[in-house]
Amino acid sequence: MSAIETFRAETRAWLEANCPESLRGPAAAGELVWGGSQVEFANEDQRLWFERMRDRGWFCPAWPEAYGGGGLAAEEDAVLQKELKRLRCRPPQINLGIWMLGPVLLEFGTEEQKQRLLTPMTRGEVRWCQGFSEPNAGSDLANIRTTAVDEGDHFVVNGSKIWTSYGDKSDWMYALVRTDNSSPKKQEGISLLVLDMHAEGVDARPIDLISGKSSFCEVFFDNVKVSKDNLIGPLNGGWTLAKRLLQHERSAMSKFGEFSLPTHFDLMSILGKYLPDAETPSDIALRARAQAAALDEHAYNLTVQRMGEAARAGQDVSGIASIMKLVHSEQEKQKFELLVDAMGHRALGWDGDEFSEQELGISKAWLLSYTQTIAGGSSEVQLNVIAKRVLELPDAPKGGAK
């Protein structure tokens, strides 16, 4: 047996023995463990799985052992991931630090930073959040205004961030801050900083959405002191790191999607419940619209599959990849619009006993679906990207049209 096959056999055996049965298969919302100083376990199995994986260094299996990682070779990591998937093991913890900041630190951090910041990640002791967007920097991220002013041995941070997921529950944040206001290109005065969310002057407030309470926060900084060793990469060089970091976002999100079980609402089956016998012409026409939407979703799923096949065959899939977020979020929105059409006032409930849990769930998911075509690159930005990068349509020349 080759070394890798030995590794596979051992890994499989270990996982079989150590991953509790209850933690195999997708998790319902709220059933995932978020690592950090206030880690909470819903049951003993979750604690066990967390500790066993941590102690084996497999929170970060491919990171160097020096920082508490598993030290696995790429080939071994691939085997581990495959075995985890085979057993449908849930991730022992969710942590943006590991998925997004970690790889950037490994590439750009100083030795001291790696020791100080990566080790607690590999131990699941610190929960991280992201501080990128600002009220005036949504689609136009380079427009951030939160400042970090050099005060000798530390920076003083002032400003605010928005759309920070779980900002109120996190220990540390990686944030983009403006360290130079004078550079002509906005991108050139930005640095990447990490900071302690428990520090004085940091205030994270959950944002109410049109769908109600949310996990998003607005985070305010009022003269927050951040020591200089928390600057990641070069001063005013944060834009490059941020772009690198965002490249990890998609894979992180898809990982997240793999294991969380988002309350999925199936259009046609719910429609069938509320329009059991579509008899009137308007009901029949509504059902035809719903069928069209559901078939479009089917075509989207086939496209996901085709993209996978094409990628494995070594083909360029950038043209297909570019449509994914746009199509999925717009289809979701459209699906809920159709559900609302079919369900009438049953989809318009806010709370109370008058509506079933599923009905209230649909109302909330419908309202929340409006977030999806805005957050993480609005549909407009997606269309711009497709037009310019994929279709190679020209930019408006300086001077513009008249």
Binding site: S133, P135, N136, G138, S139, D140, N143, I162, W163, I207, D208, L209, I210, S211, Y274, T280, P281, S282, D283, A285, L286, E337, V340, D341, M343, G344, H345, R346, L348, G349, W350, D351, G352, D353, E354, F355, S363, L367, Y370, T371, T373, I374, A375, S378, S379, E380, L383
Partner: protein, 377 residues
């Protein structure tokens, strides 16, 4: 036929807009919502509206009304729509008032209509039973008893049903498709249970459960089994007023959105300079104009007693409802991240618009009902 407001109507429109802007801006709705107010409107505001004569606008002079018609009423509704101002004008005055005006006995008109116009009583209309509006399928049964009638069944989506002084209940009295009768059920009647259906628009919406409710013969409105025509007239007036409220809400929300497009800067330019957004905004302008014409035709047809009034009302409710979906959707999308927060009023408009869209028949329902218009040409 006239598709514009005349001088008098324009004055009423100005008055109504000023009134709501000052006395009941969007912040008033927010306050009602934040304190989870089940009544869903401010009694004091309602009192003021009554004093301004707005409860009397559409009734004939003989009944104490101003004979100002539904175009007059439309000006009030579109103004209320602009500011999301809540009042029982639709439920009590337009819907129940129309039923009583058209079919009420003198006694009923004295007991209810006069007091309704005076603002001392209010009624709510109980029609719907299913998930979507469908007055052709009323099942709640009224059966003959020795003393009168016994009503049993459920009603939903009863607008302003909580705290009403009584309800006009549409009940089935024969198996024929239109075998429907209307009864006044006073508040406190034995066997009536009222519960709140808390919708996204935070208004007063109720479920009514009637369990062997005994109703005296004098509480029957009009002839037995002849309630359908009364009901349809009242519903059509209500739908036209809802269309007016929707149109007002949509125009205001669109105005807010345009302001945002002009001032919000991203990538160093106002986002309203992006042509893709400009074209989408232009299409909304187009649809709002078409919707406005349909609305005016509906109000006018009601006032003229046009035989196609019902179809024109459906045209309006369909067209305005369709535009409303689009405007509310685009308003959120064009406001971007801030558009999905509760901080902005956009969400309040969105939610009210969506409820109005569904109320008394959504676009799908009215598309079908408006279709006979097309046979003429």
């Amino acid at each position: 036929m006239s598709l514009i407001y005349n001088e008098e109507q324009r004055m009423l429109l100005d008055t109504a807009q000023e009134f709501f802007a000052e006395r009941s801006p969007v912040s008033a709705l927010r306050a009602l919502r934040d304190r989870n107010d089940a009544l869903g409107f401010e009694p004091a505001l309602w009192q003021e509206m009554t004093e301004l004569g707005w409860t009397a606008i559409a009734f004939p002079e003989a009944l104490g009304g101003l004979e100002f018609g539904y175009k007059g009423m439309g000006t009030v509704f579109e103004s209320a729509g602009r500011y999301l101002s809540a009042s029982p004008l639709l439920s009590s005055v337009v819907l129940c008032g129309s039923v009583l005006e058209q079919g009420g006995s003198e006694a009923q008109q004295n007991e209810w209509l006069a007091e309704m116009i005076a603002g001392s009583k209010r009624l709510a209309l109980a029609v719907d039973e299913g998930a979507r509006h469908n007055p052709e399928r009323i099942a709640l049964a009224a059966t003959r008893t020795e003393q009168g009638f016994e009503l049993s069944g459920d009603k939903v989506m009863v607008v302003d049903g909580l705290g009403a002084d009584g309800w006009i209940v549409a009940a089935r009295t024969s198996a024929a498709a239109d075998g429907v009768s209307l009864f006044i059920v006073p508040a406190g009647a034995e066997g009536v249970a009222v519960s709140r259906q808390n919708l996204i628009d935070s208004r007063n919406t109720a479920r009514l459960r009637l369990n062997q409710v005994q109703v005296a013969p004098e509480q029957l409105i009009g002839e037995l089994g002849q309630g359908n025509a009364l009901l349809q007239t009242a519903l059509d007036r209500g739908r036209a007023c809802i269309a007016a409220e929707l149109q007002g809400a949509c125009e205001e929300l669109f105005k807010t959105t345009l302001d945002y497009l002009r001032t919000r800067v991203q990538f160093d330019v106002p986002i309203g300079s992006f042509q893709a957004l400009q074209h989408r905004a232009a299409w909304i302008h187009v649809d709002l104009e078409l919707a406005r014409s349909s609305l005016m035709a509906a109000l006018d047809a009601i006032d003229r007693g046009d035989e196609q009034a019902a179809q024109l009302v459906s045209l309006a409710k369909w067209k305005v409802g369709q535009v409303a979906d689009k405007v509310s959707n685009e308003a959120v999308q064009m406001h971007g991240g801030i558009g999905v927060t509760d901080e902005l009023d956009v969400g309040l408009y969105f939610k009210r618009i969506r409820v109005l869209q569904a109320l008394l028949g959504d676009a799908d329902y009215h598309l079908n009902r408006a279709a006979p218009l097309l046979e003429e040409t």
